[in-house]
């Protein structure tokens, strides 16, 4: 063999050595999870909110038999759409996309959904006047070695006196909580895990439309509306679910996506009863009252954001990011303020209380230009009973414990069950939807 032949052979050997093992190794690897897994069991999903719809969407993509049982007359959970109130569609539930680095961010890009970055300007109601800025820094709730005490107590410790009460209430309200109940330590831990982005975006149409057209449309044929689950018997190999009309549904696996107050108040009877550790974990996850009140006016007398009102700590111009510009102000009411307004008993009383506060801020212009209101009180919705989950004082590992499956039969999803810092959000709920399908398929695989 001469040198030329030797080089030729070694080159061929080298290329062969490159291609054959890599082709073999590549063929062994799958691009997606569970590509070869077939499951002929039935999965029932309780709740047609974002988590339940997304779990169904994934199950459908895997060809797995499923059904969704939804208690209310509509799907979407804490997503909803109001049309006809203004010349643009309104989100009655979740309306901001919190960061684009998520599945929903990809879905928005792929579906060409129009978003607007919400960088609206803020005015503060402080010492009975509207001001552009506050004398003291209120960004005190992030950092190292924060105590497990409430936002209101921590604010006082840091020298934010009573004049900051409703400013702090707004900061806690962003987390869906009363300042007296939200844990500084717990919420800071959640923030450290957060990685979807800090920018807030508004939809030109609605958040509901995104979920409806891109996800719900794929699975809505399998939703049974007005089906209030009252009992889940998982004592036998086949799980039996009973609704309030005594109808029965059988399943091999159940994904429970109901709002945390439904689990806390034991609206669903479990047979056998859920372990104490589980129910204790549910009880530690906070969820306060929450409502959105849309106030339509004939002229725009208000600022883009008004923070710090004693009746409502956060108002926002709802026309921002919309194609049309009817004058709609959103009162975003959380925690104790939502409890107070709910206690007034009627939508008219709630609207009147808010108009009075706005009249104080804007010299009577609110009542003078008021046209109509729409009150969306999530607290009085019997299938939600609140806004969204938050971290309470002394909560510890409750969210992780609450999210653990039981006996390879019951799986828990929904925003409150998100353990990577994305609870309170739609994309967080979506993440738990596919996570629980992965848990189911992992259990089947074992």
């Amino acid at each position: 063999m001469n040198r030329r032949h030797f080089i030729k052979k070694t080159t061929l050997f080298s290329i062969g050595g490159l291609l054959i093992p890599s082709a073999f190794l590549s063929a062994c690897k799958k691009e997606s999870l569970f590509e070869d897994l077939n499951y002929d069991g039935k999965v029932i999903i309780i709740g047609a909110g974002a988590a339940g719809l997304y779990a169904a969407y994934i199950l459908k993509s895997k060809g797995i038999n499923f059904q969704i049982l939804e208690a209310s007359p509509n799907y979407g959970g804490r997503l909803g759409k109001l049309t006809g109130f203004a010349n643009f569609p309104i989100d009655t539930g979740a309306q901001w996309l919190h960061g684009k680095n998520s599945i929903l961010g990809d879905l928005i890009t792929k579906s060409n959904t129009k978003l607007t970055l919400d960088n609206s300007e803020t005015k503060y109601w402080f010492n009975n006047q509207l001001v552009n800025s506050l004398p003291q820094n209120t960004a005190i709730f992030e950092g190292d070695d924060l105590p497990d005490i409430s936002y209101s107590d921590f604010a006082l410790q840091k020298g934010l006196g009573n004049e900051y009460k409703y400013i702090v209430e707004n900061i806690a309200g962003d987390q869906g909580a009363a300042a007296s109940r939200l844990s500084v330590f717990g919420n800071n831990q959640d923030e450290e895990n957060w990685n979807s982005g800090d920018d807030d975006f508004k939809f030109q149409e609605t958040f509901f439309d995104l979920i409806d057209t891109q996800i719900a449309n794929q699975v809505k044929d399998s939703i049974l509306l007005n089906t209030i689950v009252s009992k889940i018997d998982y004592s036998q190999p086949t799980i039996q679910i009973t609704d309030s009309n005594n109808n029965s549904y059988n399943a091999d696996k159940v994904i429970i996506t109901v709002a945390i107050p439904i689990l806390k108040s034991a609206d669903i009877q479990f047979v056998p009863a859920l372990p104490n550790e589980k129910t204790t974990a549910f009880s530690k996850i906070g969820m306060d009252a929450g409502m959105k009140v849309f106030l339509k006016f004939s002229n725009k007398f208000f600022d883009q954001n008004i923070i710090g009102g004693p009746i409502c700590a956060a108002y926002a111009d709802d026309s921002i990011g919309k194609a049309q510009n009817d004058q709609v102000l959103l009162a975003f009411v959380m925690g104790e303020q939502a409890e107070y307004l709910t206690s007034l008993g009627s939508d008219t009383s709630i609207t009147t209380a808010l108009l009075q506060e706005l009249d104080t801020m804007y010299n009577g212009q609110a009542t003078a230009s008021f046209i109509v209101s729409h009150v969306q009180n999530w607290t009085t919705n019997p299938f939600v009973k609140g806004a969204y989950s938050y971290s309470t004082i002394g909560m510890g590992d409750a969210r992780n414990i609450a999210a653990q499956p039981i006996n390879k039969k019951l799986y828990f999803a929904g925003e409150a069950m998100n353990t990577n810092g994305h609870h309170q959000t739609v994309h967080g709920a979506v993440e738990t939807g596919y996570r629980e399908v992965i848990n189911i398929l992992n259990d089947i695989k074992k």
Partner: protein, 194 residues
């Protein structure tokens, strides 16, 4: 602290060598369980993708070594290499590209026994490794919060390479054939920037 482990098979197909300096371009096959799981989960959780994101498996490496002159069988030197792995999925309105870069700088121990096995050699490379992962969406760097999305990691690597090389005296070039190389990288401090 998160640890990422992976190992690689390595097939050199072009190599050149002067007396002390050598360089080569190689195909690299990567095992990276955590990244594979991440991409598999990405694909699983996005049924709306028509084309799944390929795993980060196939890459190219360019490396250069300088072996200090010595009459001993066991020589030592410095080693520098750059590797690139790419995963690209073209979907309607969502073209997603992942680009993974590695830079290794290390110490090489080169063993060659010309008396018993002429041309055969063994290298042991101990290196510091830095890595960077970038994402591009629709041919633009993926940004959120007006910041480019990227991740970095630093760690260490240990590589063993065995091969054979053929001396072409006329050109003073030596074609080097690596039969295999296994690298185990341990990222002791992945710095996830975004």
């Amino acid at each position: 602290m998160r640890i990422v482990l992976f190992s690689m098979l390595f097939f050199t197909f072009i190599s050149a060598m002067a007396q002390e300096f050598r360089s080569d371009i190689s195909y690299k096959y990567m095992f990276a369980n955590k990244w594979e799981k991440a991409i598999q989960t990405y694909n699983f959780s996005r049924p709306f993708l028509e084309e799944k994101q390929p795993l980060l498996m196939h890459g190219l490496t360019a490396s250069a070594s300088y072996i200090f002159k010595s009459s001993k069988k066991l020589k030592h030197g410095v080693h520098l290499s750059y590797s690139n792995f790419k995963s690209s999925a073209e979907n309607d309105k969502l073209n997603n590209v992942l680009n993974l870069h590695f830079l290794n700088l290390g110490y090489i121990i080169h063993f060659q026994n010309n008396e018993n096995a002429k041309g055969f050699y063994t290298d042991l490379i101990i290196s510091a490794v830095s890595s960077g992962l970038c994402r591009y969406v629709n041919d633009e760097p993926f940004n959120y919060d007006d910041t480019r999305s990227k991740a970095f990691g630093i760690g260490g690597g240990l590589s063993i390479r065995a091969g054979y090389y053929l001396n072409l005296k006329k050109t003073e070039l030596i074609y080097l054939l690596s039969f295999w190389l296994v690298t185990r990288h341990m990222f002791i401090h992945p710095i996830v920037k975004r």
